[in-house]
Point group: C2
Chain length 310, copies 2
């Protein structure tokens, strides 16, 4: 099934305790579409870049089957640029620079060939922009996944609520779930958020894994403990792209299959953080992914027998 991925394609300058990367490629839709392309060749990119974006990276994505008809290239302008520095614990970071550049005028226009896609992944963007994508679809997609962040809760809560009401799966982190719901307990937060529209809520907890909420069911996905996290940038987008790509490939949106999709997304994210930018994702093949999936199975498998002696 085809999968539209909407979001930023950008340059990042990143400093982590392990080193620095200057003006490497990044952005939610770049990470997401590459992750999704490991599962399906039906990925359709919607984004905007300037004339400064490297052709080699576009060629790489095209070779992975990522459709770029929905990618606007503004030749005489610059691509979105973000610069950040991670603290020693890698769980928090300071934004040093945000140059919107082409993103300031981003008005996504869906090509005709995109408008009947069954799966849509809306990366973190201004809620109104996310809504305009939904409005352009000819038919209601089978599944709309939306990622957002605290920034939009701070400055555009009404618009965010409107788009959240239109989607199926919301992916946010634990602090954002608390902010959006006004509840500290994630169980109570999920109850409230699932009343806002989405049928599924994924709470991303970084090194602590992820939680999937649906009706009264909860799935807790582990994160793979890693000896070295070089650069967490893009991990959440890679997770979401892998999740969406697996669902589009299998075309099964049952709770059981979403659990699998979360583990596949987590596996892709665990690769992403092992190097800067999309370097590690470029190396991953089916054998690597199968081996990594096996590690997730071993990490979380246990057998409970009846308590004979109790």
């Amino acid at each position: 099934m085809s999968l539209i991925i909407v979001g930023t394609v950008a340059f990042d300058s990143i400093e982590t305790p392990f080193g620095k990367a200057e003006r490497v490629v990044g952005g939610a839709a770049l990470y997401g579409s590459i992750a999704a392309s490991h599962f399906t060749d039906q990925v359709k990119l919607v984004s905007i870049i300037g004339g400064d974006f490297p052709q080699a990276e576009l060629d790489y994505m095209a070779n992975r089957g990522i459709d770029q008809e929905g990618l606007q290239i503004i030749k005489d302008k610059k691509s979105f640029f973000w610069s950040g520095k991670y603290h020693n614990n890698m769980n928090s970071r300071d934004t040093l620079v945000t140059d919107l550049n082409v993103l300031a005028d981003f008005d996504p226009v869906l090509p005709e060939s995109y408008k009947n896609a069954e799966y849509v992944m809306l990366g973190n963007l201004q809620p109104e922009v996310q809504m305009r994508v939904i409005d352009q679809m000819n038919t209601r997609p089978k599944l709309i996944i939306l990622d957002t962040m605290n920034f939009w809760m701070d400055i555009a809560m009404d618009a965010l609520q409107k788009v959240i009401a239109k989607i199926d799966v919301l992916t946010i982190n634990d602090e954002e779930a608390r902010q959006l719901s006004g509840e500290y307990s994630l169980v109570k937060a999920a109850e409230k958020i699932l009343k806002m529209g989405p049928k599924y809520l994924i709470i991303k907890k970084g090194e602590h894994g992820a939680l999937l909420f649906h009706e009264d069911k909860i799935f807790s996905a582990p994160a793979l403990p890693l000896a070295e996290v070089y650069d967490p940038t893009g991990a959440g987008d890679t997770f979401a792209g892998g999740f969406a790509g697996y669902l589009a490939m299998t075309n099964d949106i049952s709770f059981e299959n979403m659990k699998r999709a979360i583990i596949y997304g987590s596996a892709m994210a665990s690769f992403c953080v092992e190097k800067f930018s999309n370097e590690r994702l470029k190396e991953v093949d089916e054998v690597d992914l199968a081996a990594r999936m096996q590690r997730f199975v071993e990490l979380s498998k246990f057998d409970i027998e009846a308590m004979a002696g109790a």
Copy 2:
């Protein structure tokens, strides 16, 4: 198999966002021994209390088969008292009062009937006191589990290192694992700590579950997401007691069985936090525990099939 549980039996005054509890019973060995008694009637308590400790609580523990021959009662002194206030997020707390009282002179003396126990759980205490318990055993126990905290790392690291070298399973939280090892990555921290003596390391992550490390294997146990956590006091001790009690009941210290023991410990801890003090633990029966275990199974179960479409 018999299981010695060493630690505090005390009074706590606790304030959480949900309410206050004044001078309720608590202490690592109280929580641990009650949790363990859900699995085995061979629990042997080692602790010290004053004449002020309620006889009804001692009777309750005796009725659960908890052997109190190793419990010293100093009639004219007061029991250990701790008072704390939890912050809104329940993950951090301020200690308001610590009155050592009888604990200042605690010199555990093992009764003869304890000295051949196969399982020993050393609750958080001064490392020298933990060591004196090990030294009194007639035979090397099959398994020694030790809990400790950052306080001893700050003021008694040498003594702590000495006792850690003598044990099999160390239970600490993530920040303590980082402090003990000097490594931020928990994988690297575990590598270093497993070279200090213990064959197993359990890293307790509270609402994020727990990690079990052994050789090159890792198990990630989920925590049950709860709508309301009334009082986290004693959750770690209840976890350790349930873990140790399940191992003593099954007398199987394989990695696979330790995984099960961690889930049983987590289930007991998930009850503990639902009310103040040991109130909720007193209500739990085998049916409750089996139902809670089933929730852990559903929470973490997923089936990965071959990626046909990849």
